[in-house]
Each structure stands twice: as structure tokens, then as C-alpha cells.
Homo-oligomer: 257 residues x 2
Amino acid sequence: MKKMTAGIIGGTHGMGRWMTGLLRAQGLAVSVAGRATKTTAVDLAGRCDVVVVAVPIAATAGVIREVGPRVKPGRLLMDLTSLKTEPVALMLSHSEADVVGCHPLFGPSVSDPAGHSVVLCRGRGENGYALMKAVFEKAGYRVLETTPRRHDKMMSVVQALNHFNTIVLGMAVAEAGIPFPELQPFSTPIFTTKMEIVRKVFTDTPGLYADILAGNPHTKKILASYARVAQKIRARADARDTAGLTRAMEDAAKTLF
Amino acid sequence: MKKMTAGIIGGTHGMGRWMTGLLRAQGLAVSVAGRATKTTAVDLAGRCDVVVVAVPIAATAGVIREVGPRVKPGRLLMDLTSLKTEPVALMLSHSEADVVGCHPLFGPSVSDPAGHSVVLCRGRGENGYALMKAVFEKAGYRVLETTPRRHDKMMSVVQALNHFNTIVLGMAVAEAGIPFPELQPFSTPIFTTKMEIVRKVFTDTPGLYADILAGNPHTKKILASYARVAQKIRARADARDTAGLTRAMEDAAKTLF
């Protein structure tokens, strides 16, 4: 039997490269298109059984519009971005192929699948979805199925709110007027952990975190809620209302844990 | 030679218990006063060579006022709180003993001293300071000497700003309207790490974190700066200004790392 073929657009870096390795390990013949490859996205779209769009969020819509019409019915078109509503809608409207929206909930440096999940959103067709579910589960990842809308709502907390919180911490520390090397010896375990996250977000791929924050359709609402909470806590801290602060944490803990 | 004696007020819990173990391991005869012990703070203050105040921040001033006058000149009075300006000033004005302000930059669950630091602030006298420096260094901790004022300025970033950031994240997640157990499967490694910190702060000793936040003399200024930064980043996210967000992170990274 002929090997199944996959084309990874943006397969030379990040999650695209990770996906390339994953599919090769499962016996697929994988071709890659990147900014520096001779093979183009259009080449792959016209000839592969599975076409994966793994370019940065900002470039995703353009690539889907370009390659979508070239992926034939019965084949699979899938994206890997951290947002799902818009990319899945675009894949459905610009292609007649099977469509799956995919979001691995981890970065390309993760080497052990244990404890890591991949979100899959059904777009169109059963075969493509079943194939990808099997691929990720066989590799050891947990597959979570949800709708694009619910995915983006979850990610407005897990990613947008979370990264906003990290960005504001990092910038506030930068503006505190104490050079970081002077601060570092005085670090506690919690501060060290949080500044490692700031370092990752600010120096790894800041553009990705900016896209995730600015691109989520629920960001405006969740940041408005963050601002209200911050104002409330700040007023209590300024008033030295330690009892009120303690109660606020205890009440939130009851909701959360 | 008679063993050196130490009295730990609040020695039955938390950092007081940790200090008890540390001094016993170095051969001192350590007595402990707590809410449930027959031995009182006043007993210890009158008879020990080293008297350590290890009660919660909110109770510290009262204990210093009570025991300070009973610690004899030439002996040592030391506190363990996360703030240094007020406790050191109080120990100096309410006692004629040697005075040291001490802040271990970690929690009582830390078992390995490697990589962990203890801040010492000289209050009065050389002997007490030299003794404590030797004790912590012999146990394997790094000793950082600074003034109470500089300590509290550092901690306004390392602790007050940091814990404020944690508290606001936890409360905003609680108010997002998605039950946490539903959110958890969708967690990324960064979100998991940050929610473990929220859990620790909200459920371990929320009162301690409230005291650290509300009690630091620099909190008002640092939270005002946090609010300004948050407002700026929120405006950029709402405007979907990913280039501006990315540049802000890159600029801050240059200052920080």
C-alpha cells in the first residue's frame, strides 16, 4: 500500500517541525514547506493527503485562503494555531476537504507526551478527524474534543488572561527602577518561577504571545474583568485591609479548588 | 562550657519551627513558646541568649513591645518577618540588646538550603550579627546583608508586586465563569505552574501574603505603577496592536535580562 502523505506548511520551525517529526514517526511520508524551502505551500496543498497549516497566527488566514481551494475533497486540511474560531471557519469556507482545527496545548520543546493534551475541533468529515485523533493518541497525547467557540473561551483564560498577567508583571518589574541583576539575589522561589515564565514569554516568541492575547475574541471581556479585580485588590492593599484581602483569597479558593 | 540558649517565640509553627530545628542542629539549647505551650514569650525573653520573634507579621509589633525590654544587653533579639523597617526600628527602641532583622527568603517547606538565601539587617551590636551569620552560613544558606529600607524596597517587587499579580490572576480566573475543574484539562504548562502558585498563596497561608502585600511601605507606589502598565497593555490588546505588544515585551526584556 502507498504511504499516506502529509505536507506541513511552516514545517521548518516550532510546532510545524514538531508535527513533522510526529507524523514521520508514525510512518507517513512528510514534506515540508517553509520560507527557505524550494517546495511551496501550494505544491503541498495540491498533492498531499494531509495538509497542515503551521504558520504564525498572523499569517494563517492568508495561507488558508491560498491553499484551501487546492486541497481536494476527501483529503484533510488542518491548522495548528492557538485560536480556533476564525481558522476553522476559514478552512470550511475556503476548502471542500475534510477540516480539523488542532491546538496542541504545549510548546515545541516538550519531549514527553505524558500529561500533555491536544485539542481537536471537528470541522467537516469523519475520516480526517478519526485519523488525527488516532495519530495523537498513539503518540501518547491526550485528545480533547471541543467546539472552536468553547476552545477560544477556555483559551481566553488559560492563555489570554494568563499571558496578560505575565506581561504586566514583567513590565512592572522592568519599570520598578531596580536593575534585575540587583533584584535577583533577593528572589524567592515563587518570584524565580514567575520571572522564568516572564523570560520565556518575553524572549522566546513574544510575537506569538501578542497574537494569542490580541487575537482571542474574548480578550476584551476578560481583560475588563481583570482590571476590575485588580482595582478592588489594590484598594484593599492601599487601605491595609489585610482581613479583606485574606477573605477575598479564601472565597476565590472555594470557587477554584 | 554551658550551651548557648535560644528561645523561639512562635516556634511551634512555620518559620519558627524551621528556626528551632536549625539552631538545635547547631547545638544550641532551644526552648519554644507558642499559643499552646506552657512556656511564655516573657519567660524566654528573660532567660535566653538568643530571642527570636517568629510570630505572624500582624502580631510582631505587640510581641516586640512586650519582650524587648526583658532581653538583656549583650544578648540578641531577632525577628523573622518578611518586612524589616518597622520590626527593626521597634526592636531598637524597645530593647537594649543586640538587634538583628532576619528574613529567610523561602518557606518552611524548603528542605535543602542550596540556592536559598537569608537576609540579615544589622540593628545593634557586632556579636549577635556575627553569630547569626555564622549559623546560617554553616547550615548552607547564602547570607545577604542589607539595610531594612533596601530590604523592603526589594521585597516590594519580589513579594508585594509578585503576590499582587498572583492574587489578581487567581481572582480573575475565579470570576471568569468557567468552573476550574472544567478549565483544568485545557491547561498549558505555564497556566498549570501559575495556578499551582495561586493554590499555594490562596490556601497555604493567605493571611501571610495579605500582610506582606498590605504591610510593605512601598506597596502603594508599586501598585500604582502596576495599574499604569496594565492599562497600557490592555489598551494595546483591545486595539489588537500585536506589533506594539511585541515591541513592549522586547523593550522590557532588554531592561530585565
